[in-house]
Amino acid sequence: MTARIEIPSALQKFANNQMDVEVEGHNVQETLENLLKQHSQLRDHLYDEKGRIRSFINIYLNDEDIRYTDNLDTKVKAGDVIQIVPSIAGGQQ
């Protein structure tokens, strides 16, 4: 399944200055891992020292926060859009 991951402006320089990247994957975890295979510099910005998504990052699949679906196991379909949004101003509830 090929999904489109939108890269936040603060991280685009670690992804060849691209605003979005097309990536294969069956679920969000696999899709993110494949993104990091293409752009390894993103890893420290997205994951903490224990390999978890950093707690201030919200990941949306088609505008839905994955915390409220199956988290990183959430299934990805062709054409889905994944957004990586820092909760700079506090975070979504």
Binding site: E6, P8, S9, A10, L11, H45, D48, E49, K50, R54, S55, F56, I57, N58, Q83, V85, P86, S87, I88, A89, G90, G91, Q92, Q93
Partner: protein, 323 residues
């Protein structure tokens, strides 16, 4: 004979005005995290709007009124990620100005509720563009209708940093009886750091001033700016700091949790970043008197996910020894 009503008119009014409560905040001693008692912090949530931003917002509004640039019937407009907006909304309500604020749509629902409670109008901007998106929107709105708005422009208005030169700096000098050796603060607009540092240097050029920024453009430190990748505030002088520190988001979170468990202080996130820098300076300077500033309390951040972690789960504060 004078009636009670006549007597009341002749006497000075009772009580205090809202804006007279701004400033003169306590200087706390963090005796558990720094047992030598050399770590002091301004508790800025004691301001009536519950953050340091009351100081800059009030000085910006007051000086604009004095200069005739803000008049009855005009609207106050600015970009703000939260606390400055709360200060504008509070002071604007008390003085009869409509307040319009541009902010990233990722602002917490509780923040939105506070602003709406004061009657402010909110313009939500693309969260992916962070505070820069809000700044660009405010500029666009002002250009489209300059007669309608007083554009407060906290990022360029010199009355921002001057508020701290005139109040926060002198308070710290007096509360430490001139014994301060180090001042360390986080950068947002940089107004606090610029104003306090300039005042302290004017009293004693040997005082070391240290600024703290996020370690990366991608961070979760509300209100703080990574200068290299942001629209740089007009009054930020990168040459003023004797030293520049950076803080990773998770370290600040850990310090917030430590402060709540060990000092009984519920801190905001940028206060956690300030505490990280202050503890580093305390460890490095056994004879020093280190002062930092806690911009707000943790009340507005209780929905953050890190509160679910135990201290053992959290990133150790490596590179910094807790004295």
């Amino acid at each position: 004979m004078t009636t009670p009503a006549q007597a009341a008119q002749e006497l000075p009014p009772l009580g205090q005005t809202l804006t007279s409560l701004i400033g003169n905040t306590p200087l706390l001693r963090l005796a558990h995290l720094c047992p030598a008692g050399r770590l002091l912090a301004k508790a800025e949530w004691y301001n009536p709007g519950q953050s340091v931003k009351d100081r800059a917002a009030w000085n910006i509004i007051h000086q604009a009124e004095v200069a005739g640039r803000l008049k009855p019937g005009m609207e106050l407009l600015d970009a703000t990620s939260g606390n400055t907006g709360i200060a504008y909304a509070m002071i604007g309500a008390s003085r009869g100005y409509k307040v319009t604020l541009c902010m990233p749509a990722s602002v917490t629902p509780s923040r939105v509720k506070i602003l709406k409670a004061y009657g402010a109008e909110l313009i939500l901007t693309d969260p992916a563009l962070s505070s820069d998106g809000a700044i660009l929107k405010a500029r666009e709105m002002y250009r489209a209708d300059p007669d309608r708005f007083f554009y407060a422009d906290q990022y360029s208005n010199d009355n921002n940093w001057r508020a701290h030169f005139q109040s926060t700096g002198p308070e710290i000098w007096q509360q430490t009886e001139g014994r301060i050796t180090h001042f360390v603060a986080t950068l947002g607009t940089s107004g606090t750091f610029m104003g306090v540092s300039r005042y302290l240097k004017s009293r004693n050029p040997a005082v070391q001033v240290v600024e703290i920024q996020p370690d990366s453009p991608f961070h979760g430190l509300e209100g703080m700016k990574h200068m290299e990748s942001s629209i740089v505030p007009a009054f930020y002088d990168p040459a003023l700091a004797d030293r520049k520190m950076t803080v990773r988001t998770e370290r600040a979170y850990r310090r917030v949790v430590e402060a709540s468990r060990r000092e009984g202080l519920l801190l905001g996130i940028s206060s956690g970043a300030a505490l990280e820098g202050a503890l580093t300076l305390c460890a490095e300077n056994p004879q020093g008197v280190v002062v930092t500033l806690f911009p707000d309390s943790g009340v507005k951040y209780l929905s953050e996910h890190f509160w679910n972690d135990t201290l053992e789960d959290m990133t150790p504060p490596s590179g910094t020894k807790t004295p």
